[in-house]
């Protein structure tokens, strides 16, 4: 008798098992939202370039493929790019002698001019201390742009024997060109 009752109970329990989740279940929805960060990295090469020995009031140019800007292929967005320059300084004593970067494409005593030109483009664009658009479109991951520079040195600080010179001789005058990027 007992065995029979236990058998019935066991059968009942077993029969109920598939129904238990259905009886206890409710449903809910979880929405997961994520926004991928706009991350990018750019690389400008070479890190250093020398025009060699320059004389006053002369134009010096590089090849149009001399410099290369690359957007890292792992970047996650398109970018807009800008270029800036700065005053050139005597490397030995920056406070004692410098050339101001022109903002009107005109050189003068202690004022120099710098332009860039993208490979394949028509004209040179002046570089100033303020940001100038480097590439009119956007650049995406893996994109690269080659460009060259043009330099117009300052007018001579003094003349000796009919030849113009800068105030510092056998000196290194140094400046920097920076290309910066923002997410498009």
């Amino acid at each position: 008798m007992k065995l029979g009752i236990m058998g019935i109970l066991l059968a009942g329990i077993l029969a109920l098992i598939p129904c238990l989740p259905a009886t206890a279940q409710d449903s809910g929805t979880i929405t997961i939202t994520m926004t991928g960060a706009k991350e990018f990295s750019i690389n400008l090469t070479p890190a250093n370039w020398s025009f060699g020995t320059v004389t006053p009031n002369t134009v010096n140019t590089t090849d149009l493929t001399q410099f290369n800007l690359t957007v890292d292929s792992t970047s996650t967005c398109a970018i807009n790019t800008y270029v800036t320059g700065e005053n050139a300084v005597w490397a030995d004593d920056p406070g004692a002698y410098n050339w101001t970067l022109s903002n009107n494409e005109q050189n003068d005593i202690k004022v120099y001019v710098l332009w860039f030109k993208l490979d394949g483009e028509e004209s040179y664009i002046p570089i100033t201390e303020g940001p100038t658009s480097f590439y009119s479109g956007t650049l995406g991951p893996g994109d690269s742009k080659q460009f060259g520079l043009k330099l117009l040195t300052p007018q001579p600080d003094f003349t000796k024997g009919g030849t113009g010179y800068f105030s510092v001789g056998s000196a290194i005058v140094q400046t920097h060109v920076t290309i910066s990027a923002v997410a498009a």
Binding site: V54, T55, A96, S167, G169, T175
Partner: protein, 208 residues
């Protein structure tokens, strides 16, 4: 029974009020986190956002100096006395050296025996020690800005002009840089009077 309902009602109101406060607290905390994160968002978005190249240019050099004085008449038209010290009228700034080139130069100085203009074989020897003697005279220079009343002997050997204060060479780094100096002379303890003696000092600029 009515009192029990009132108590239950009060508890429910209290619970809802507490929930509202918690929600308000959560919203406040979330808002604070969002506001705190705002300054960092551009940084996260930018990554490595610039590249720089250093441009260098070398300049041509030319060397040259000029001296503001070409002659020192020690006592003007008067005669000098034995064993007497004379200084240029401007003890520190009598002569200006100007860098008329653009090379970074250091200055060297060299004296010579004083010769009788009528017979150069008759001389006053330039002392090499700063001590005078019979027909031996001494000469010094003082650089403007150097230690007060400090003088350095001039000898017949070409020697670098140096600051007494720190031993550094006298330097003109770029075009139009200037330095000034004065001279001091001690006449011999014995000499034959009536002779006009003449000596040359050479100042040289050497690339630093």
């Amino acid at each position: 029974m009515t009192q029990q309902r009132q108590i239950a009602y009060d508890r429910e109101v209290s619970r809802k009020s507490a929930m509202k406060q918690i929600k308000a607290g959560i919203i406040t905390i979330l808002l604070a986190i969002i506001l705190a994160a705002i300054p960092y968002l551009p940084v996260v978005a930018e990554g490595n956002s610039s590249g720089e190249t250093t441009i260098t240019m070398n300049t041509e050099s030319v060397m040259g100096i000029s001296l503001g004085q070409a002659e020192w008449r020690v006592e003007g038209e008067e005669d000098v006395s034995l064993n007497t010290t004379y200084k240029t009228d401007l003890p520190a700034s009598w002569c200006t050296i100007t860098n008329t080139g653009n090379s970074n130069v250091t200055m060297f100085i060299k004296g010579d025996d004083a010769e009788w203009v009528s017979d150069p074989s008759k001389k006053w020897t330039l002392s090499s020690t700063g001590d005078n003697g019979k027909n031996v005279y001494a000469l010094w220079y003082h650089i403007k800005g150097d230690t007060v009343d400090s003088y350095t002997p001039v000898s017949k050997d070409l020697a670098s002009m140096k600051w007494v204060r720190d031993g550094e060479p006298l330097n003109l780094a770029k075009h139009d840089d200037t330095q000034q100096f004065g001279l001091k002379l001690l006449t011999p303890t014995q000499f034959i009077g009536g002779r006009t003696m003449e000596a040359n000092i050479i100042l040289s600029a050497v690339a630093a």
